[in-house]
């Protein structure tokens, strides 16, 4: 299926829930929806267009807000669903109901950006250790790593 056909099908099904849809390069489609319509958008492209394979979820810190990109692929095209998430209230609903394979990526987003994924089947940290400080989210732009001072035992 070519890009134009995909774009029209998405527009027909989601109507005014499509905030923006672009096709900047061949086989790449960027679709922007509100975070409340995320699951609906995903089930639409899954059922109507056969995009079952979620490649990954990318988190972006745009300093005043966050953005999540859900990359989906079928046998030719990639649809990237973009949702904006406010910095004050970083919450997004889980997509594991539609795409069970999304669980590890959602846990990664929780660890790295502190974006809370609602109703996630397994909310434990995936990457950060058990003693990781509360509220430290490494991939946020305001998080800087400082190497702790080294003390050499027996040294000066």
């Amino acid at each position: 299926m070519n890009e134009e056909k995909i774009i029209t099908t998405i527009k027909e099904n989601l109507k005014d829930k499509v905030l923006e849809i672009t096709n900047p390069s061949p086989r790449r489609i960027f679709l922007k929806v509100d975070k409340n319509n995320l699951c609906e958008a995903i089930s639409t492209i899954k059922e109507k267009l056969g995009f079952t394979y979620l490649i990954t979820i990318t988190g972006l810190d745009k300093t005043d807000s966050f953005e999540l990109l859900y990359h989906f692929a079928d046998d030719t095209n990639v649809i990237n669903i973009r949702v904006a998430i406010s910095r004050e209230n970083p919450i997004v609903s889980t997509v594991t109901g539609v795409i069970p394979g999304a669980i590890l990526y959602e846990r990664e987003i929780q660890d790295m950006f502190g974006i809370k994924v609602e109703n996630i089947p397994d909310p434990r940290p995936l990457i950060t250790p058990d003693d990781w400080p509360e509220g430290a989210y490494p991939l946020r732009k305001d998080w800087k790593y400082e190497r702790p001072g080294e003390t050499i035992p027996g040294g000066k």
Binding site: I55, G59, L60, H71, A73, T76, G101, P129, W132
Partner: protein, 411 residues
């Protein structure tokens, strides 16, 4: 029946890299698997934001030791799109050539590991001996055995001479002959096939819903390969087929990888015989204007994805890396459920896990894990063989903790 949890790892599961698998057993049968990551994180995505593009090229090279070329190619072709430059044909051919030779070395390595985990060490030594031929080819092209550093923005860094071409073609005929032999053994040798057939089943539906990638998904009968689906570099000019198997077990994964080896040889031969003349690289700018790109690449283990966002400076705003191993974990958990303890190494090795690929983000961490809880892989193997000796093929619930204690005391 009493169920108990045994943590396997973080030290030495399957491929000598740290990952923690907490498994719940009912007797010999795996009931539940919990994957815990983070033991090999190096903070690469955060680091990338503070380095220039060319520095990042060498950083991405170090995401993985086995498929280092995959990550640089994925990154380079993404950045080239952002820079709006097009590498010359000869450069792209050399880039793809190295990629396919890398696939050969990775698949030969995996075949050996599969043999080793199945207790067939002769196979392991044979394939690894012949892998040396591939490593020599890579060294002759790039000067390095592991991190080839052949890519640069706008093309490749080193050209191939006529004599090199001839040597590669000569080695290739030897490799083909050897691979024929391995294909025969790996798929027909009765004891080996009996060990891997029906182990680690993954149905087509599960593979699809859990978003598995690479040879794992192709062995479940799904024709998914980025080289065909979303052709990059020169793959739309090359003759090759996507190899699949429909058994969905470890045997299927062996068949897929062996067949892929033959496809690789076909492509390498074609590329060497049809190498276009001309430049190998064009000049690339330092600064990149604001844009974003999604770059995909079919690594030996499955699909790589790099999402790169530029902001007009010489450093990326964000680099997101998704390596194939991470995508295969949910499927592996399903494969492991219901299998025997003795099959764990085999199934886990069958996705060809690369932990350093899957993990690349946070600073080095020190997880406070009680040392007494950690089961080494060799202990697990000993335990598995003892268990089987004791009760034949009918596993019965025995206290694993007690047995482990025994093994530990002995060693």
């Amino acid at each position: 029946m009493e169920e108990f949890t045994v943590p396997i790892g973080p030290q030495h599961p399957a491929l000598k890299e740290p990952i923690s698998l907490r498994m719940t057993f009912d007797g010999e049968v795996v009931k539940h698997v919990d994957v815990r990551l983070g033991y090999n994180h190096r903070g690469m995505e955060k680091m990338a934001e503070e380095r220039s593009y060319i520095q990042n090229l060498y950083l991405t090279e170090r995401i993985c030791g086995i498929c280092s070329h995959s990550h640089t190619t994925c990154f380079a072709q993404g950045v080239e799109k952002l820079m709006e430059i097009e590498p010359p044909k000869r450069g792209l051919y050399i880039r793809t050539l190295v990629a396919e030779i890398e696939r050969v070395h990775s698949h030969l390595l995996w075949l050996g590991v599969a043999g080793h985990e199945a207790g067939f060490d002769t196979f392991f030594m044979y394939t690894w001996r012949d892998r040396e031929i591939v490593m020599d080819i890579l060294e002759s092209i790039s000067g390095n055995r592991v991190h080839y550093a052949i890519n640069t923005f706008g093309g490749v860094r080193r050209d191939i001479s006529e004599t090199q071409k001839q040597t590669i073609l000569d080695s290739l005929s030897l490799l083909k002959q050897r691979t024929d032999y391995y294909a025969n053994i790996g798929t027909t040798e009765p004891t080996f096939v009996a060990r891997i057939k029906g182990v680690g089943k993954l149905s087509k539906e599960l593979a699809l819903s859990l978003c598995a990638v690479g040879p794992t998904v192709r062995a479940s009968g799904i024709k998914s390969d980025v080289r065909k689906d979303d052709p990059y570099a020169v793959y739309n000019e090359l003759p090759f087929e996507v190899c699949t198997a429909d058994t969905g077990d470890v045997l299927g994964r062996v068949v897929v990888r062996v067949n892929e080896l033959f496809e690789c040889y076909k492509m390498i031969e074609f590329m060497l015989k049809n190498l276009p003349a001309g430049d190998i690289a064009v000049k690339a700018p330092r600064r990149v204007k604001e844009n974003e790109v999604v770059s995909r690449y079919e690594a030996p283990r499955g699909e790589n994805l790099h999402y790169i966002k530029s902001n007009g400076t010489d450093k990326p705003e964000r680099l997101k890396v998704r390596a194939p191993t991470l995508a295969n974990y949910p499927a592996t958990v399903e494969m492991l459920k219901g299998c025997f303890i003795a099959d764990i190494p085999l199934i886990f090795a069958a996705i060809d896990p690369c932990i350093c690929c899957a993990e690349r983000m946070v600073e080095l961490v020190n997880d406070k894990n009680g040392e007494a809880n950690i089961v080494s892989f060799s202990d697990l193997k000993k335990l598995a063989s003892e268990q089987y000796k004791k009760c034949g093929n009918k596993p019965e619930p025995v206290s694993i903790a007690k047995q482990l204690e025994k093994i530990r005391r002995k060693s």
